[in-house]
Amino acid sequence: MTSRSLHLNNSDFEVQNFNNDFLLIRATEEGTLATLGKLIFEKKFDFIDEVIVTEQEVCLKLNARFNDTRMELFSTLQPAKQQVTNTYRLPIYFADHEDWKGVTKSAGLGKEEVIGQILTTDFTVAMFGFLPGFIYLNGLPENLHVPRKSVPAKYVKANSVAIGGKYLGLYALDSPGGWHVIGQVPVSILQFPQLPPLPLNLEDQIKCVRITSEEFAQINAQQLNLIDYNA
């Protein structure tokens, strides 16, 4: 692994090269990394096969066309104009789930108090990742940061809301998962086969709304997506 620094659009980045297999890019200041990742993705460089953007790191999977001098092409990237952010309500039925035990124990609070804190928090879309439609939300109060499970659960139901470390997350698909499930959402956020496959953008605001099991069934039966629900 070799490291170098990169100066782009008045921001500094650190780039680690893992044997020309992949690059990891980190920003030295907050808020600049996602923009860089998006610019690289949209530029469709021929020496990059995949771009993964997370809050702290951008990962670029390289192919045989890559060599170190190609990185200088990043300096041709021009910053895009600022995006508009939207606010969405996310309806959650806080069903009883075995994972609640771990959450209340770690937080030292009862279930109702945890729910209360979540409902009064303004969440921000921090990143997309894991599997299609999975959303990482920033804003979780620190006392609700619950470490991920030691052994990931083999099955988490689609549209589960869960806590993992500092994030509140939404599983859009059935999948294995290491996060603690606290509720269910009756709307789907995926819109296959559109690209992007979900209607949210980074920095969009999310407000959690509590619904009852009856409301859950009702909304679920209408087969709404997140946009319809918020319309």
């Binding site: 692994m1 680690q16 893992f18 044997n19 297999d21 992949f22 990891l24 995949e50 993964i52 953007v53 997370t54 809050e55 702290q56 790191e57 951008v58 990962c59 999977k61 045989a64 066309r65 060599n67 990143m127 990742g129 894991f130 599997l131 999975f134 990482y136 470490p147 991920r148 499970k149 030691s150 052994v151 990931p152 083999k154 993992g164 470390g165 500092k166 994030y167 999948s175 294995p176 290491g178």
Partner: protein, 276 residues
């Protein structure tokens, strides 16, 4: 280092690969295999990268003596190949023993054939390609066609079709979180493929690895081939349907071409990893 020797060169025998692209601007032609499909078949049968170098034969077969044992494949036109005196088939993995001689006659049903060797040929790339460009005298073996007495060396490839499935791994972004013991363990460690594995990931059974942390503060990028270490201390290898981010330390990774070997090991089978 293992090697082969050209006893008779044939009509026009050169080292080629998929060629060099994008240099026509400088009046440099692509060169490369004249029948790319045939070349790819020979390489892929040995699970070699598609851009690996191999021997291209034209019209009349060369005679090649192998000083060392190795697996080879032959594709393209039928040159009526024999290994010592026994006929050998196209498109199969051939076990060559040390001292064996490969020879053939005139090409039948075609004009060109490819001989791939299961190793990393010790040749240098020119403009990012092994292809021989005869007019300019660049690439391949000293920029020219092979002739009597030429020696081509290679570095051995693990034999993945028999015995233990050995796969090289490289340190991942969070390798340094591992205890010194765990870092040593990874130099040569054998795991069993857990029955709870699927297309997303392989769960490995065997020695638990010690790490100073099993949780990262943030979810970070992962690619197929990345090896994560959850708190159980038993590594998980991300596969083709795997997640693209995760919060477990990424202790190591294996390069893309080795996924094919790993993915052929049945549940309950053993895999041996060696850190390089």
């Amino acid at each position: 280092m293992p090697s082969l020797e050209i006893i008779k060169p044939g009509l026009l025998t050169t080292i080629q690969d998929m060629g060099r692209q994008g240099l026509a601007y400088y009046a440099i032609p692509p060169s490369g295999a004249m029948d790319r499909n045939a070349a790819r078949i020979a390489l892929l049968l040995l699970n070699l990268p598609e851009n690996a170098p191999l021997i291209e034969c034209t019209s009349i077969a060369p005679t090649i003596k192998f000083q060392d044992a190795v697996q080879i494949t032959i594709s393209g036109a039928d040159f009526q190949w024999v290994l010592n005196d026994s006929p050998v088939m196209l498109h199969t993995v051939i076990d060559v023993q040390a001292g064996d001689t490969l020879s053939g006659k005139m090409a039948k049903d075609g004009f060109r054939a490819y001989v791939a060797i299961n190793g990393t040929l010790q040749l240098d790339k020119v403009y990012n390609s092994y292809a021989t460009y005869l007019n300019a005298g660049i690439g391949g073996y000293q920029g020219r066609m092979l002739k009597k007495g030429d020696i081509i060396e290679w570095e051995g490839q693990e034999d993945h079709y028999s015995g233990t499935n050995s796969i090289p791994i490289l340190p991942g972004p969070e390798f340094s979180l591992l205890s010194e013991t765990a870092q040593q363990q990874l130099r040569d460690i054998t795991y069993t493929i857990g029955s709870d594995s699927n297309r997303m990931g392989l769960r490995l059974r065997g020695a638990q690895l010690q790490s100073s942390s099993y949780q990262l503060e943030h979810s970070l990028p992962v690619l197929p081939g990345f090896i994560q270490l959850p708190p159980s201390g038993l590594p998980i290898v991300i596969l083709q349907d795997g997640q693209i981010s995760g919060g477990y330390p990424r202790i190591a990774y294996l390069q893309e071409q080795y996924l094919a070997i790993l993915n052929q090991i049945p549940l309950g089978g053993e895999v041996r990893f060696g850190l390089v």
